[in-house]
Symmetry: D2
């Protein structure tokens, strides 16, 4: 397996996770900034992967000949260029950018504000959130190209989709209010992401115009079987890792609040179908950022106001590590499926601190 964009935060996380993955051998790590340097030195990994040298994209493509798959931890523009070339070499691709998450070129271009240069691939790309619905796993196993979901969409969707799928939520607009640690902004020299600017601070950003809004709406629409109008507000937290999303919907007429948690349990914790990476907790308050940071887990809690002026209001809180379940970890779930390995291989035993 090759990793492109290995020096960003999600590429580095992928490197570290795959370096100790029992079913995978790393063969190439692309990074312009670390070109020529040793992986052991820069990423801190041990074992055979430590002896790999970072290489340019071009060199890494060469090194990828014969590889089973590549993880693209690159910006969307780079993924658009890399994916077709790797597929042409017979290398399956899991792309962590937004490049292949929308089925239509128009929606992509409206969201990402630049041209989609590989539209012929959109039809075959599989949106790889294995726990989202029956059929996703089979589709990933059969795919050549997997679009790995975004970090906010993973948290919000895992919390809401089973409720929509069970018909428990009214056809009313949904609010997703979420907050992310600073690794979500990627690794870059930036004054606005400096400790001085972010410490003791909390603010909203990209209000009503974040690129993850249509992605969440699309995933929920699939679960609901209808369009889901949705407002999404991301905030920047003074923590390093983790996303916590608090979502607001309304109980469908005639449904019982107790069905909400039951639907989550059925989706994620049913007999014979227990999801190893999703936990359904007793309440939204029980969901903790720090309990999932470092792991591939998503924790979810739901509550509903049974009486009172806003009766029927449903509040769903979900938390993930944006770099693991929200990026590299979920990519490795997809990789395992693609390679016919156990889906959880290399992802159990990660621990929160």
């Amino acid at each position: 397996v090759a990793i492109f964009g290995a020096s960003g935060y999600s590429g580095l996380e992928a490197t570290r996770l795959l370096a100790s993955h029992p079913g995978v051998e790393l063969v190439a790590l692309s990074s312009d900034r670390w070109d020529g340097e040793l992986a052991g030195k820069r990423s801190g990994v041990a074992g055979p992967a430590a002896r790999l040298h970072y290489a340019t994209h071009e060199k890494a493509i060469e090194q990828s000949r014969g590889a089973a798959a590549a993880l693209l931890c690159t910006p969307a523009e780079a993924s658009l260029e890399l994916a077709p070339r790797l597929l042409a070499l017979g290398v399956q691709v899991i792309d962590l950018s937004g490049a292949f998450r929308f089925p239509s070129r128009a929606e992509y271009e409206a969201t990402y504000k630049h041209a989609h240069t590989a539209p012929e691939l959109l039809a075959e790309a599989v949106y790889g959130m294995p726990e989202l619905a029956e059929g996703v796993r089979a589709a990933v196993r059969a795919a050549r190209l997997v679009a790995n979901p975004g970090c906010y969409p993973t948290a919000a969707t895992l919390g809401l989709a089973p409720l929509f799928a069970a018909g428990l939520l009214a056809p009313e607009a949904v609010v997703v209010d979420a907050a992310s640690g600073t690794t979500g902004a990627g690794r870059k020299a930036s004054e606005e992401m400096s400790f001085t600017e972010v410490g003791e601070e909390f603010r909203a950003y990209r209000v009503l115009r974040h690129q993850h809004q249509p992605e969440i709406a699309q995933a929920l629409a699939r679960a609901a079987g209808r369009a889901v109008p949705l407002t999404f507000t991301p905030h920047l937290l003074p923590v390093r890792r983790g996303i916590l999303s608090t979502s607001y919907a309304r109980l469908a007429a005639g449904r019982d609040p107790a069905e909400l948690k039951a639907a989550l349990l059925r989706a994620y914790a049913a007999e014979g179908a227990a999801e190893p990476f999703v936990g359904v907790l007793d309440s939204p308050e029980a969901v903790s950022l720090r309990a999932v940071v470092g792991t591939n887990r998503c924790e979810i809690g739901v509550a509903c106001a049974p009486v009172g002026p806003d009766a029927g209001r449903v509040v769903v809180v979900a938390a993930i590590d944006n770099l693991v379940k929200g990026a590299a970890g979920q990519a490795i779930q997809n990789l395992n499926l693609l390679l016919g390995l156990d889906e959880a291989m290399g992802l159990l035993g990660l621990r929160a601190l």
Copy 2:
């Protein structure tokens, strides 16, 4: 002026602000835990106030004879006992707890889950948020007893009330999603508020059952002239001070999104009525926790989705320092009104760090 409960975080903030207030002399500071100790030593204040000794409630009541007013920075149970006694001595009272914020005993008891022992005072208590509406200032000036608003209600209400008052928001349920620094939990020995537990963490608490939910709903109902169904979710931030609230409503039919900011400007920044402590910014993203921490200011930004699947969605972000505008600072605004002083006295020139 006397301060009761002077060793809590809001009591300490009140002490520090009043110690350098040019129009006020402190005459008593009650604190069981610091009974007998020097104010200069414990609070760090300089000047005459430094030579005051903390005293028990009983002693401080004696010391308050002849005082113009008392700030109660005590828990609601203590305020319920102190307020009638101080009023009986002719001392005007500004209470920072929730004890007198509801006009009806029933609503108080449903919210705070204990008996209201001074219901005879509820009718005369004035909810002291000076910027909320015309008439509030006059009412505070004439009051014997002021109920100082809660921290979350101050942030959420200042952001939403002018929009309701202007008829700009649809009669639809409102969501207030907010986050507070740790000083909001008060000063106490608590494992759950330890640095180890709060650092790198973010979580929701008291979901669908926080005592500020009815207080916000009541304040907005006054502005709207009708009931406002409302869901409120507080979160705990790993910062020391500050509240940022992100509220969601819907534009009323037939209204223009541009009217939203205009209404805020009219309420807070109109010619001849410029509020010194409320700033209307260009966007919700511009609102910053740290820019208001340390000051008595509230900053507000509003946006509205003009088109798209959730068109008409209104997002209002507001930020305050929970200990200043959300507690001691607003109490001093009220105190200044009560004493016939300039409302901003002692509150300008506070600086953010």
Copy 3:
């Protein structure tokens, strides 16, 4: 293996590490506060250990009959009582408190300010820092009772001991200036350890009177073969985990600065004797708290002023995770030795975040 004091931070860390340790089965977890509760629920561990119930000390002693060993994560007073009882049952003991770290009762009592109630055990207790010197491992393997080193002493000693052992440091007083995250203070309800008090703060504590000062001095004296006068100043960092110590000594007359790093490499990274848990870096600046937090590693860097007004000054920086290499992780190294297992079992593959 049994763990006593399993609800404190080091007890919890030991529980989590041993729950996934391939060579150990947990049989008892003592905790007064969680008595009767399920380990899976409180500690988050999975697997067989999740089904253990926390028990009182008394019950846990009963459950420990037949166990190979017990980890005491209890305060010194409790360890003094538990150790003799467990040893009498044939259970080997690794004590994480300071109870058995000094060979003499007098030194213990002078340091910990209370009576040592099991002085008969002091002679046989082995100070279990495996990397400290040749012979330690053999002594631990043969021991009934291991005194697990303190957190600050582990960081400071691993950095300085090889330099003393190699005769590279002058017989001059040494300064150890160190800083620890808040987990070092243990789990407790405490106002002074609250986020509000610790956030954006940094201060020294127990200056010239910290109980780890004599422990460090003793460990260095063994390495040096002479008394080492030493001043130690701990500081409290606004981080959750980790200790970084910056130590100051002076190069012995006639020695070359280049010998310093060479001595560290010889002690920790020699052919055939590479320590898996100690890394010698290129410089003191390269040592990073976060790189070791979550792992059982200690990273060390040394520098020496070759010329200038303070020529010969040696600066050694070392970092560990106070809960892992500084407590539970080192205890498991000792446990592995005691049980005849591979010393690193269960401790490799821990990752920093």
Copy 4:
């Protein structure tokens, strides 16, 4: 008064402090990055200063004609160019960089590693630490050019100088171990200063080669009347503002430990000479970063080991806000002296949060 380099953190702090200074009118603010923008918008200041526009250095020099003084908050290279030009216009200069802190060109060039292009000014520059010694204030009042001390040197020197001046410290090498918040690194886009890199981290930097080492040594040598060999190690704290220095020296033979605190009190808190900005606390543990952040104060505590293996060891802890007493605040003290104003004007009443 003009401020050059007004968009850096110390320039911004100077702008904010001078905007509300009752004895000073701001006439120019230079900043290349904010050229043409309004000061009120960027710096948040109110009043007349809010209406100033940032300008290039060239334009600001023009605007400074007729100004009484200029604060240079610029890098040393820029200060070297600006200072002679402003002095030639008759504008007195307070330089916050290291450009004029050494009397000799050689020492400057050895420390800052570039040529000193205005060596003719070195002889007349006054090192402006008003509390350092008798005579400093008079020299500043008479100066054309003041070299404002560095942040670490201010903390370390204020703590140690009176002890050297009183002959209480042995002629032995001194260790200064200090830690600074991130604003000390200045405002810049930098990956290494990002929240992701600095959060939960603590490390040493520029070990044995920080440019403040010779500055501290020089200031202490003046106090001691002899050379003071000194080792200085700075660390980066995960806080925004503040420096805490922990210094190690040895009590001179025949002196009593009680003389240490007495000497500090005599220097800073004597009858008729009470320093408004220096506090002598009861112990090193009492010194708190957060208590001084936001203020122009320095807090100091000293302890000495009376007996034991390292008897005579002196530990001095001192804390300041690096942007106030360590930069802009001390510059305003100097400005007040230069302009014949009360030294504390505009600097009292600043509050810690």
